[in-house]
Symmetry: C2
Subunit: 283 residues, 2 copies
């Protein structure tokens, strides 16, 4: 581990930066890079997303609402290929100036509203339908765990996942830093789930819907190469119990394949417009 | 930049990790490290915090509520010295199993509730008092920017701040990675604030209260050493307009010194129990 020859300049110059899997995507500026309208469907809810953990949160939420009988939660889901830079098209940037999936257009109210950031979308839908978020004294606990996930995600994905799996070279210090933090976060969840059926308490809530897509792939060993082994994820038996339990929910099985563009063809659903779209898919 | 001699082991072993300013604090496990009760005051709201950006969010929120005439928002604020590991005392862990400041005990309802994560605390208080969060169609925009801040903070603090300022050595790749992201985030905010007085729209909201403590210190050049110059923060004139505007609010002036343990003595207020505690302080 030696990088000490490096002394940062007084003023950082992005032109000096090269390399990395996402080098063609990352820039130090925001805003649209090309004019490009978004497709739209017929339902009130228009979702633009990809089946990454942050994307899966929202498709699981919609499928849970539909599963629970809220038929007004029908939605059209379109795939945004972030590797191709579709998040920088003008239509998408109008919905989310931060150019990240997922983004939602909600046309169910008196005037259309945009919602961006997965946590905001979950909260918006939970409030709209009165579901998966208690209104009594247990609400604060659910909100706490929801925000805990939102603050944790960047350390798991952009931190650990990037340095362990995506960065052009292996750097020891950042890998150690984020391995430490991801294990700590798993332990936080594990200790909680040892005492509580769900993160927010006795009831399944948007705190679980937000967290499951980030932790379950580690339990199943399907994220960041050998991360499950590297981080000894098998130690967290209560997280595994919870992840497997949620994984059996029909809505979770459906939601995780919406906007999926990898894996076997029958585990991909690039666009979702109705329940019939899941026919023939392997759930 | 060369760290390529490093090959991660199959299974990560925390015992092999050394160094770093926070090495005595960071562990891969959660939970209390010692029995230690928290002090309590007389008000309904008991806050345990430190005047870092995440802490300042909540003290500004309380001071804004009081400034707006919500006298039920009186609070006792106690300092948690994270450098001394006070976040691992059993009383604090009972309030926040994630061992991060800020944490709140709310005794105003029929039974006491804990709230952790700064964003959850802001939302909890906004809902309780019906303030700084609209209930009409503009609510989704405020929630989107609130969650945008929550997802951004880790990249600004634990990412850029750590690698540029706190890490034991300067590593070029992570510094470039997070400099890119922080500049992008500033540009997202700058483009928004060019068109909108506040992040969530025409009205000051919890989205601003959450974001101001993270961006304003860059504008003022009081965070992470030479970060203001390194990142050319002067480019973001609309962020500066907004940061300075909020900085003039009496509640922001008070909130930022609560639980502060550094700087001149007259800019520190280690415990706050009433408005009188600010007397003689330099606001």
């Amino acid at each position: 581990m030696s990088d000490t020859a490096y002394t940062p300049p007084e003023v950082w110059d992005p032109e000096t930066v090269s390399g990395g899997k996402f080098a063609n995507i990352n820039r130090p500026t925001a805003g649209a890079r090309e004019e490009k309208a978004l497709p739209t469907g017929e339902h009130d809810f228009q979702l633009y997303s990809l089946a990454t953990p942050n994307g899966v949160k929202v498709t699981v939420m919609f499928e849970e609402l539909l599963e629970a009988g809220y038929s007004d939660a029908e939605y059209d889901a379109f795939t945004i290929n972030i590797g191709d830079g579709e998040q920088f098209g003008s239509g998408f940037v109008d919905l989310n100036p931060n150019s990240k999936i997922p983004a939602l257009l909600d046309r169910s109210g008196p005037e259309p509203v945009r919602v961006f950031e997965s946590g905001a979308i979950l909260l918006h839908l939970a409030e709209k339908f009165g579901a998966f978020l208690p209104t009594d004294h247990t609400r604060a606990e659910v909100l706490s765990w929801l925000f805990w996930q939102m603050g944790s995600g960047p350390n798991i994905g952009g931190g650990f996942g990037h340095f362990y799996n995506y960065a052009p070279e292996k750097y020891e210090y950042p890998i150690n830093r984020y391995a430490m933090e991801v294990k700590r976060l798993f332990d936080v969840a594990d200790q909680r789930l040892a005492k509580s059926e769900y993160l927010g308490g006795a009831e399944y809530s948007i705190a679980d819907i937000a967290t499951w897509p980030w932790l379950a792939p580690f339990v199943k060993g399907v994220i960041y190469g050998e991360a499950r082994k590297f981080l000894s994820i098998d130690e967290y038996e209560h997280v595994a119990r919870w992840a497997n339990q949620i994984g059996e929910r029909p809505a979770a099985k459906r939601g995780r394949i919406v906007n999926r563009t990898w894996g076997d063809e029958d585990t991909q659903l690039r666009e979702r417009h109705s329940a019939a779209d899941f026919e023939g898919k392997k759930l």
